[in-house]
């Protein structure tokens, strides 16, 4: 892809990330907010494709847009009568939070503008997926196994917490 189309793709993806993200935090209907979350996750997957992380993009679509979004939408549907026209979306810290967030963004911008990154000139190898796989199985095999235990524990824990207590 040439550089101009890369730029256009980046800004289109940024639009499809930022606008749904704002809607996630502001929409009155929490179900629509959940649908916006899916759009946002797909945009992030596109950003991963721009960064040559194809497998991560596939994982993002499968796990975030697939699994986590469906989990959230099911939880919304189980508590569905809680959204209505009259419900208040934000609490009273709304303006304080806005000030804090704007300050944080401007601080990050200032830090980025004074930092010079040590950009590497090496080209990324073409067999990224192969290298990630060997890293996971060699250097990071212990965290890999610990994560599998964590997933098992959270699965069992979620079932125990969410089931009905027997009287």
């Amino acid at each position: 892809m040439d550089s101009l189309s890369q730029q256009i793709t980046f800004y289109a993806l940024a639009f499809f990330i930022i606008v749904p993200a704002v809607m996630v935090t502001r929409l009155r209907n929490i179900f629509y907010a959940g649908l916006c979350l899916i759009v946002c996750f797909m945009g992030v997957a596109g950003i991963y494709l721009l960064l040559n992380a194809e497998f991560l993009a596939a994982v993002q679509v499968l796990i975030y847009s697939g699994a986590i979004s469906i989990l959230i939408l099911f939880a919304i549907m189980m508590t569905h009568h809680l959204y209505s026209k009259s419900i208040v979306v934000s609490n009273e810290q709304k303006y304080a939070a806005l000030v804090l967030v704007v300050l944080l963004v401007s601080m990050i911008m200032v830090i980025l503008s004074v930092t010079t990154w040590n950009i590497s000139t090496e080209k990324q190898p073409s067999n990224v997926l192969q290298m990630v796989g060997s890293l996971l199985m060699k250097d990071y095999v212990l965290p890999f196994e610990v994560v599998s235990v964590l997933l098992l524990v959270s699965l069992v824990g979620a079932v125990i917490i969410a089931r009905k207590e027997e009287k």
Binding site: T25, V44, I47, L71, I76, L112, S154, A162
Partner: protein, 103 residues
């Protein structure tokens, strides 16, 4: 003009701050959880961008992004289970109203 690192970092900064705003202001507990997912995504964009631009031969950033996705999935499962349990007991999931354990 090729894509540069700062563009990705600024995008991630905006996404993180929108997520933070949602965490601080949403009253619905599921909304808070969704905003936390936005923040996870911002961190992942940062990790992958740093991995590509600063150390393209060492893909540790991508590997850590995988771990974050796995931990986020576990967090979402347990968090939603807790929210359903709270809903069953209180008939309400507004984080302002659930102050049973608050001093």
């Amino acid at each position: 003009m090729n894509l540069i690192l700062d563009q990705f970092l600024i995008l991630a900064a905006f996404l993180f701050c929108i997520g933070l705003y949602g965490v601080l202001t949403r009253r619905n507990a599921i909304g808070v959880l969704m905003s936390i997912e936005l923040m996870f995504n911002a961190v992942n964009i940062n990790l992958v961008a740093f991995s590509k631009y600063l150390a393209p031969l060492n893909l540790a950033g991508q590997v850590f992004a995988f771990f974050i996705i796995a931990v986020a999935a576990a967090e979402a499962a347990v968090g939603l289970a807790i929210i359903l349990s709270i809903y069953r007991n209180f008939k309400n999931i507004n984080v302002d109203d659930i102050n049973l354990m608050k001093w």
